[in-house]
Assembly symmetry: C2
Homo-oligomer: 379 residues x 2
């Protein structure tokens, strides 16, 4: 199928995939419009020899710079069939873009090698969406399990505590038996608390939702938070200049904040600063992703510590029940998981942002509203 030159040019310029070609010496000979857009360069100022000055290339982590020999076009030119190599492009002064790049040798109709060509597929948006979807599915599954475990153990504990109560009545006068009965009762109560915590994570509580104002709540919590973090940690609270009405179960919400403060305090054993900031969420904060509803604004409560921070893997799993406890042996229990469950049940979002050595920021996002949506109790 023979096409006019103008039509081929139009095709390459109109497609959404970025395309770059080079000659046998590696000189760029062609860049289409999409690739210019992806790399943050306008066609007007683009000269092939300056092309590569406009951006930096990194591996999938967005941090490790690519060696020359890892650059897809270089690899393709050297005979490698590159298929879906993940690369992060950071245009100078622009936002990073995640690309899947495939590359091939450029062969003309007569079978002669004339250079190499790569095509780039922008996965920035899909990657974020997929990750959020999978995070959310994962927590649904863990929540289902938490609810199931709690339900089964609760049934058993009800029997044990019932029998134990009767034993207690019947043996009260017997100093030889009483300690054992008390031990059973205390242990059962600890187990019941554990199942209760699992239910909080699994979002199976009954919320008592009432209108409240976030700044007011956070100021009122100053004293208790000060007690939680202790003398070595300086507590700084910055409220928002505008009122932020929300509809929440105040007791539960305060509990979630206390879990975050406890976690922050644990992360700073030799002292530091705990910063609590209340703001209107930036409309550009992509992090809300899946849960963002159109026309809903969010209040943000950011809890920042100056502790040890954490790596990507820990961040992606920190809200999972028992993750900290079993993986790090830090014994943090279910606090963060319960905070997660409470905020999610409020139709809010909780996120963490951290780097090793740079402290951590936990952010709670709650929908701003003055009346209770009728469906929230079933959430």
């Amino acid at each position: 199928m023979e096409m006019a030159h103008a039509a081929l040019t139009a095709i390459l310029d109109c497609i959404d995939e970025g395309v770059v070609a080079c000659d046998l010496d590696g000189n760029i000979t062609f860049i289409n419009r999409a690739m210019c857009r992806i790399h943050g360069v306008t066609e007007a100022k683009l000269r092939p020899e300056e092309w590569a000055k406009h951006f930096d290339l990194f591996g999938p982590d967005g941090k490790t710079p690519l060696d020359m020999t890892e650059i897809p076009l270089y690899r393709a030119l050297h005979g490698v069939d590159v298929t879906n190599q993940e690369v992060v492009v950071k245009p100078k002064g622009g936002k990073p873009v995640n690309l899947l790049i495939s590359g091939r040798q450029l062969i003309d109709r007569d079978g002669a090698r004339i250079g190499a060509v790569i095509s780039a597929h922008d996965i920035t948006a899909t990657k974020k969406n997929d990750e959020q979807l999978h995070q959310s599915q994962k927590f649904d599954s863990i929540g289902t399990m938490a609810g199931g475990v709690a339900h089964d153990f609760n049934n058993i504990l009800t029997v044990i505590m019932g029998a134990c109560t009767l034993l207690k009545i019947k043996t009260k006068s017997d100093p030889e038996l009483e300690p054992f009965v008390r031990q059973i009762m205390n242990s059962s109560e600890r187990a019941a608390q554990l199942t209760q915590n699992l239910l909080v994570f699994g979002r199976r509580q009954n919320l008592r939702l009432l209108p409240a104002e976030i700044n007011e709540i956070m100021l009122a919590m100053n004293e208790i938070l000060g007690q939680i973090v202790g003398k070595n940690v300086q507590l700084v609270t910055i409220t928002c200049p505008v009122p932020l009405p929300v509809v929440i179960d105040r007791e539960q919400f305060e509990q979630a904040i206390m879990y975050l403060a406890t976690n922050a305090s644990d992360a700073m054993p030799s002292g530091g600063e705990l910063l609590i900031e209340v703001t209107m969420a930036d409309s550009g904060e992509l992090v809300l992703g899946l849960d963002r509803r159109p026309n809903v604004s969010y209040a943000r409560i950011a809890v920042t510590d100056t502790g040890a921070g954490m790596d990507m893997v820990t961040m992606s799993r920190i809200f999972e029940p028992f993750y900290l406890k079993t993986e790090n042996g830090r014994g943090a229990g279910l606090g963060l998981s319960m905070a997660y469950g409470i905020i999610r049940q409020h139709e809010g979002v909780i996120t963490v942002n951290s780097e090793p050595g740079k402290g951590s920021t936990f952010s709670i996002y709650l929908p701003i509203r003055t009346t209770s949506p009728h469906e929230i109790n079933n959430g």
Copy 2:
């Protein structure tokens, strides 16, 4: 940057992305080599007017045919900016391909609309890999939680059962107290069984690995499996003509098979057939995905029932602890989750394949080997 006609043709033919263009009347004017490959047509026999006869187009589920107005090229021609629309292409007689398609109007240098163009990115392989990775991460998380819950409850149960044992000794002669003590002990034992099941799912058992042969094991299990499925279900076992040596904890493995048989039996309350087939796994069985090791062959034990079958969502969650119990109210307990944990701890894979109304096949894949890899105990 002006390029020769031949070079532009080479670029479009060498890139890995599929490209198709049409004129303003919707007639196909250009198809590049990658798009031909994706759609299972060779360039030689391709005439534009016959293009669409060679394949069928479906939505992301791979089943719902696309209406004309949902076809990306059609949408692009009618002015829609199509971005990453997921489409499944089934070439006649070929395997389905998952594509992300973007489409735009085709505009020439002078700004005149001359048709439409789409580019297609093949995500068949990455989609499968991503799904397997996320399934595996999800199960890791649920396993971590199962282990954590079991550990905490075990500690509590140890105290309760210890105190209860002493109470039992001291109150044996007292008929008024004995029933309550017995009730506490029985309930504690049920709770201990539950934590034990969670540990099996969480792969925290000690395996006693010994060489065994799958055909022999399955034949030896015929009687017990017959008892499990009962009189209304016909049990058919087909062994493999070649011996399939594996290294397993026989008791645990048999347990896993019994869980599958119990599940199959539950799915056929009014009778049916339970087919057990032992084969060498097809080297093309992609399903092993992430866990497949190079140079390792697998034995496959397929357990097929003629029961109600299940939909995609249930399939993707069926091995999760408490999923069946809480979501379907079928009370299937932890059997399938334990089977999953046991097989995974053997470095095997367990999968399910089903459709509503068409029964289900659970397949266990175990690495064929004669000696125990030293690291398996820590798996």
